[in-house]
Symmetry: C2
């Protein structure tokens, strides 16, 4: 193992949020405990949003408070506005993910604002945050929009021109919301973005596997120097506002990819697989990924993930 990547587990937010039947808080905490046990250190545990819009996320404050029991865990929460960011910070969140979409129609669908207004909102959010707050900035529909199709690089770069100087040490995540990015596009956009705003300290990639390109895109981003990757255990997830866009890339698939390549993830695949199997069985969930099933039908292969 010569290098390392950081996997941000987003299943408890991006995976759970689209599930209709409420997952009991204790069940969520049990999944979190097992994910931490498998070696995950950064987990997006929920979001501060309207309980009527996303009732599944209504227990996020309670879950955030409970995370104090796991000293290795950095719990991250998603916030779509200044007000929700302040609420999250007041509730003790130290890792915030703010999201806006590059495409106008997706952003309006999501938060009823233009991307430009969401950029202004980001500035206001940053102004009010306690010192030391870690900020992740998610650019949704950075590659493709369910309503507008493929997004041009210039549109993303123009938004980065505005956003990055507001907080150059924020972690910038380019998100393939629909799963319709391809590896050439992923490599090209990260290269262009890195050249355009070289002051950005950390880049991250959020892949969906809807069309089977999740790992190809992750690898393309890795080849451009990206070392932080979102993934969802059992491949749970999808954007409730992006029709057909089921399927975050599965954490177990991303771990398999990197461990096979000799790149350390810090995650114990044999501990993760049973959690993913139980995650795939959550009533109302939309699981994805290949490794869970491949290793479950062929358990001897589990050992093959590590070559060393």
């Amino acid at each position: 193992m010569t290098e390392a990547v950081e996997i941000v587990e987003v299943g408890p937010r991006d995976g759970f949020q689209g599930i209709g039947p409420f997952i009991p808080t204790e069940t969520k905490l049990s999944f979190l405990e097992r994910l931490v046990g498998a070696g995950l250190r950064r987990i997006e545990i929920g979001s501060f949003v309207s309980a009527s819009a996303l009732p599944q996320m209504r227990d996020t404050p309670e879950i955030l408070a409970a995370c104090a029991r796991w000293p290795t865990l950095r719990p991250q929460v998603l916030v779509p506005s200044e007000r929700r960011g302040r609420e999250a910070a007041a509730a003790g969140a130290r890792d915030l993910a703010y999201v806006l979409s590059v495409s106008d129609s997706h952003n309006r669908n999501n938060v009823r604002r233009s991307p430009s207004d969401s950029a202004d909102e980001y500035a206001r959010l940053l102004d009010g945050l306690p010192p030391g707050t870690f900020v992740r900035l998610n650019l949704a529909t950075a590659f493709d929009c369910p309503f507008e199709g493929r997004i041009g690089e210039a549109q993303v770069l123009a938004l980065l021109d505005r956003l990055v100087p507001m907080k150059p040490d924020a972690e910038i995540c380019l998100c393939d919301t629909t799963g319709r990015a391809d590896p050439a596009q992923v490599g090209a956009l990260f290269a262009a973005a890195q050249a355009r705003v070289p002051q950005a300290r950390t880049w991250a990639f959020h892949a969906h596997d809807t069309y089977g390109l999740g790992l190809a895109n992750v690898h393309a981003a890795y080849a451009r120097g990206v070392r932080v990757f979102d993934a969802s255990f059992a491949g749970l997830g999808g954007c409730p506002f992006a029709p057909g866009a089921t399927g975050n890339v599965a954490t177990e698939d991303v771990v398999w990819l990197f461990e096979r390549m000799g790149v350390a993830t810090g995650i114990d695949l044999s501990a993760l697989i049973p959690v993913a199997r139980d995650g795939a069985a959550i009533p109302g969930g939309l699981p994805g990924g290949r490794v869970r099933e491949a290793l479950s039908t062929n358990p001897d292969a589990c050992a093959a993930a590590r070559l060393t």
Copy 2:
């Protein structure tokens, strides 16, 4: 579209061979007709092998003869020995694929010979072929073996040293039989092989998607200049001698990858998807792939494959 790749449809051989219930010859021909209609120009239509070992392939001579009705089609047949190669040529085959495994245990399991003996057999096969026969040389377990695990580059290169000079204009296909190759390994092996036997005219890649890395590996091979890719409609397939190795990379997924990248495949995805859907429903089949389902649940997305 600035470049082009050639997709070799292997479903009618690699996909069908592991299916227990005999698929009626007329059904096979109907699938072939629709695959040709979708734009596939090279199809591995069967194999000349022992009818007791692989009864599903027993109608290959009949299918080969019927292929004359499609003037755009180059039907390819798999042969494991000199004798079977002669039989195939006598039956009118002009495109032969000879297969041997890099790993000793897999080759013995498959054809009851050492790889070295299979290399000698390849030389004898070549000696007896009619002039103008196109030869594809498949190196199975070039990356990983179900019995021996990861295969070292040196082992593959030593075999290429022997095989390539016998017929430098053969198409050399490196096969990820287990689906456990990773994109770094795929890129590195193709680079090493191209440097080692520069006289080899054409390289091809045969990917499996068992662990979700099929398209990532295809893209890695493409990045190294490979332009010929095996794929199976509906992702049907797997090696009957490689436990757990279900899942050739799906043709529709490979088409999606390249069309999204702006690389021409010559295949009409909207014509292929219904064939793949019917292929996935063949009794006893083991389908795979993501694009078929993604486009079936979200038909509008079909148009999105082409960006131009």
